[in-house]
């Protein structure tokens, strides 16, 4: 007891001594402003993406305790990666001494200090940080975000106003309302799919999912989180932007409490010449996610070994609310292992693209791997479903995802082609798992069956494609296209009798179905049922004389019954039509054969499936 009193007395004496020695207090002008102006104000300034300004003494003083709290917890400046992992652009963590200064300043009443000490506030260019863009696009109308309690997502299709292919070195995204826009996913859709969804919603943009056709430009990431402006790439790495495509922007918005107008803008910076190199995007991850309710440590893993030398340019992790820990590792062939990504407290709202300051050399044989851990228990505060429910892979924010994207640059074109082909096959196989997962949730979604069947076809797995088109046709028996698709893959799988049944089913439902007549005719021809084949191919051409495939089929049928003159005549009709170069070559070969009166080979050239 006596010693305790003595220590207490000593502490008091020390405190008094410190005060009398006139220890300099921590002041805003001398100690805090240099930190805040460098690390906070680039976003927290008028016109910046932060929700409030931190550019004057009064603005910072009014939030002193909050600033101390969020810097101590490392919520701000936003940087989710563990210290010591990677060397990325825009990585400016506060140091321990800086944190201590802020803490002391807030605790001691946030004094202003000597005005002479105040550093100059940096100049930020008004508007575009990357300079004046070559093109600025925005949705035609602002979206009006209601004062709802929950986060909102909105997808916009913005038409590319270009008349020819243009090469892009970079983009700058402006949220259009910093109070509510938290991050943006940006893709390019070369099909009308996103635009149709946008137009179907009477308000600007639409709610829902991005179609799969909305993709990153080949080899590049796009996107925005507050504070991130990706620098322009060198002209040799620029990416092509095609006319008639759409910029797809998905906004994640946190409502402010009031009705807010949101009109994002994207500035494009062009290159005057085509690129000489294109990076390759590798996506590791699992689309088979199926987490039981309450499971607090669900792990997914994936890996890929590089078949060629490559440089790692950037990494982007992606997951939803239940993911907790994210790891990416590169195991080099020399036995060394390198942690390339590690986030212990994953937050869906800070989905940075992490760009390496210096590209990392990854020799051939390097194994890239990922491991994500999920917490689907009630203890995970971010769990969107309470009580926890079984959760599957899926793109809605209440579903779960787990991807680690790598931007890789191969040394030459041959290596790049090898790498890209391997990765495409790997990713398609995983996409298929994703569809199978979604079908586990909703086995009655005919469109999912159609989509996955086409992916299986792309991998040459006809039997699996048949299985899914069968399911689709069973779900929508009234739909002629479903039977047509089934017939087409049955024929490709060599099941000609079954294919005939399916095509006849399609024609029962839509007698004027030109493609079905065509494909049925081709199958009958392959079966040697030439008379029947001729009848259907004639009908196909009568219904659609502008389809070179149909004319080609009819010519084959004429040749099969010995009418070579009619065959040549029909081929010549086909040759007047626009057609792909490869098909034209085939047609010319056939024409030569007909002129020499040679019967056709029993090749099946079917018109492709078209749901």
């Amino acid at each position: 007891m006596a010693s305790a009193i003595a220590i207490a007395g000593l502490a008091t004496a020390e405190a008094v001594a410190l005060r009398t020695q006139d220890v300099p207090t921590v002041t805003f002008t001398r100690d805090i402003a240099p930190i805040v102006f460098t690390s906070c104000a680039p976003c927290h300034r008028r016109g910046g993406p932060g929700p409030f300004s931190l550019t004057t003494y009064d603005e910072v003083r009014r939030r002193a305790t909050q600033v101390a709290e969020v810097t101590r917890s490392r919520f701000m400046p936003p940087w989710k990666v563990e210290p010591g992992v990677g060397h990325y652009l825009d990585q400016h963590p506060l140091t321990g001494p800086q944190l201590a200064l802020i803490e002391t300043w807030a605790r001691t009443g946030a004094p202003r200090g000597n005005p002479q000490d105040l550093p100059r506030l940096p100049d930020w260019p008004d508007g575009w940080l990357l300079g004046k863009p070559d093109l600025i696009v925005r949705p035609s109308q602002a979206f009006s975000l209601q004062a709802q309690p929950t986060d909102a997502f909105r997808i916009f299709a913005i038409k590319v106003p270009l008349s020819k292919r243009t090469y892009v070195r970079g983009i700058e995204f402006h949220p259009g309302n910093a109070r509510v826009v938290h991050h943006a996913n940006i893709r390019i859709d070369r099909t009308p799919a996103t635009r149709l969804l946008d137009e179907a919603d009477p308000l600007p943009g639409y709610d829902g999912l991005m179609p799969r056709s909305a993709e990153y430009p080949e080899g590049h990431f796009l996107g925005w989180t507050p504070g991130q402006v990706a620098p322009l790439v060198s002209p040799e790495l620029a990416w092509p932007l095609e006319p008639n495509s759409d910029i797809v922007v998905q906004l994640h918005m946190q409502p402010s409490g009031a009705v807010e107008q949101v009109l994002p803008e994207i500035g494009f910076y062009f290159s005057d010449r085509p690129p000489s190199r294109t990076p390759t995007i590798l996506r590791l991850g699992s689309q088979g996610i199926d987490i039981p309710p309450g499971e607090s440590r669900y792990v997914i893993r994936d890996a890929y070994t590089l078949p060629v030398d490559a440089q790692l340019l950037a990494i982007q992790p992606h997951a939803h609310y239940r993911a907790r820990e994210i790891r990416g590792v590169a195991d080099l062939p020399d036995g060394t292992s390198r942690l390339v990504m590690h986030i212990k407290d994953w937050d869906f709202r800070w989905q940075h693209v992490y760009r390496e300051v210096t590209p990392i050399r990854l020799p051939k044989g390097t194994r890239l791997s990922m491991e994500y851990t999920y917490d689907n228990s009630a203890a995970n505060a971010r769990n969107p479903q309470l009580p926890p429910a079984r959760v599957f892979w899926g793109q809605r924010s209440k579903d779960e995802m787990g991807d680690l994207w790598f931007q890789l640059l191969a040394g030459n074109d041959r290596d790049r082609e090898l790498l890209t082909a391997q990765i495409t096959t790997k990713m398609t196989a995983e996409d298929i798992i994703g569809y199978e997962t979604m079908l586990k949730v909703d086995p009655r979604d005919a469109e999912l069956h159609d989509d996955v069947a086409l992916l299986y076809l792309g991998l040459g797995q006809a039997a699996d494609a048949v299985r899914h088109f069968q399911a689709s046709a069973a779900l929508k028996p009234e739909l002629a296209a479903a039977h047509f698709n089934l017939g087409t893959v049955l024929a490709q799988a060599g099941r000609l009798d079954d294919a005939v049944v399916a095509f006849r089913a399609a024609l029962d439902r839509r007698p004027g179905y030109a493609l079905a007549h065509n494909n049925l005719g081709r199958v009958l021809l392959a079966q040697g049922r030439t008379g029947d084949a001729l009848k259907h191919l004639q009908e196909a051409v009568r219904l659609d004389g502008a389809n070179p495939q149909a004319l080609f089929g009819l010519a084959e049928a004429y040749a099969a019954v010995g009418s070579y003159d009619l065959a040549v005549e029909t081929i010549d009709r086909a040759l007047k039509l626009p057609m792909p170069e490869a098909l034209a070559q085939q047609v010319l070969v056939k024409r030569e054969q007909y002129l020499r009166r040679r019967p056709p080979g029993l090749l099946i050239e079917l018109s492709s499936a078209a749901p």
Binding site: P51, F52, R61, R62, R63, A64, T65, Q66, E69, V70, S73, F75, M76, A106, G109, A110, A147, Q148, P149, T150, D151, R179, Q254, P255, S256, G257, A258, V259, Y321, D347, A381, R382, N383, P384, L386
Partner: protein, 187 residues
């Protein structure tokens, strides 16, 4: 020991009540005392707010929802304790966030001191005798800055009001609210 603590608390509350706030103003500059319950109500909810606190603002729809639900028996009053929130600034704020409840300015922080709130948004539920029956967060959506739940799992204010309007004791009488620190704002 237990008895003495209870007694102290009672004395403190009574003394604050006896004095009554003298410098709380409505938006027309008239002195008002929101601690006196409105006729026909059984409780008053003081909702402490600042016009530029993002977390406080995000709660506007929820505050309005609760005011509508309990409107007949509970009076909701928005309290603005920061001098920079002038009557004109507050009027704009009410309009922008579609508030249709009463608002007062407490720039001398009399209501802040009476209730002991620390941040905005924070609420105090007062009974007919101006005793604080609940003080703290509206719900548990915000865990800390930068970490929040997609949906609240505990709606503390709503539970407290259900109890008060049913004449039951409030089960959880005090919680920690997350938001903008008043100590920094009223310096």
């Amino acid at each position: 020991m237990f008895v003495r603590i209870a007694l102290t608390l009672l004395l403190a509350t009574t003394s604050a009540l006896a004095a009554g706030p003298t410098r709380v103003l409505d938006l027309d500059g008239r002195a008002v005392n929101p601690l006196i319950p409105a006729p026909g109500t059984v409780a008053t909810v003081l909702v402490f707010a600042t016009t530029d606190c993002p977390i406080a603002n995000r709660y506007a729809p929820e505050i309005q929802r609760l005011a509508s639900r309990f409107g007949a028996r509970v009076r909701f009053v928005l309290v603005y304790p920061v001098a920079a929130d002038t009557a004109a600034v507050v009027r704009d704020h009410l309009e922008k966030f579609s508030y249709s409840i009463d608002a007062v300015r407490d720039t001398a922080q009399e209501l802040v001191k009476h209730t002991g709130v620390l941040v905005t948004p924070e609420v105090a539920v007062l009974d007919g005798g101006a005793r604080v029956r609940y003080r703290g967060r509206i719900d548990d959506r915000y865990i800390e800055f930068g970490k929040d739940r997609p949906e609240p799992s505990e709606r503390d204010l709503e539970r407290a009001l259900e109890a008060v309007t049913a004449g039951r004791p409030v089960a959880v009488r005090e919680t920690r609210a997350v938001g903008c620190f008043l100590a920094d704002l009223v310096k």
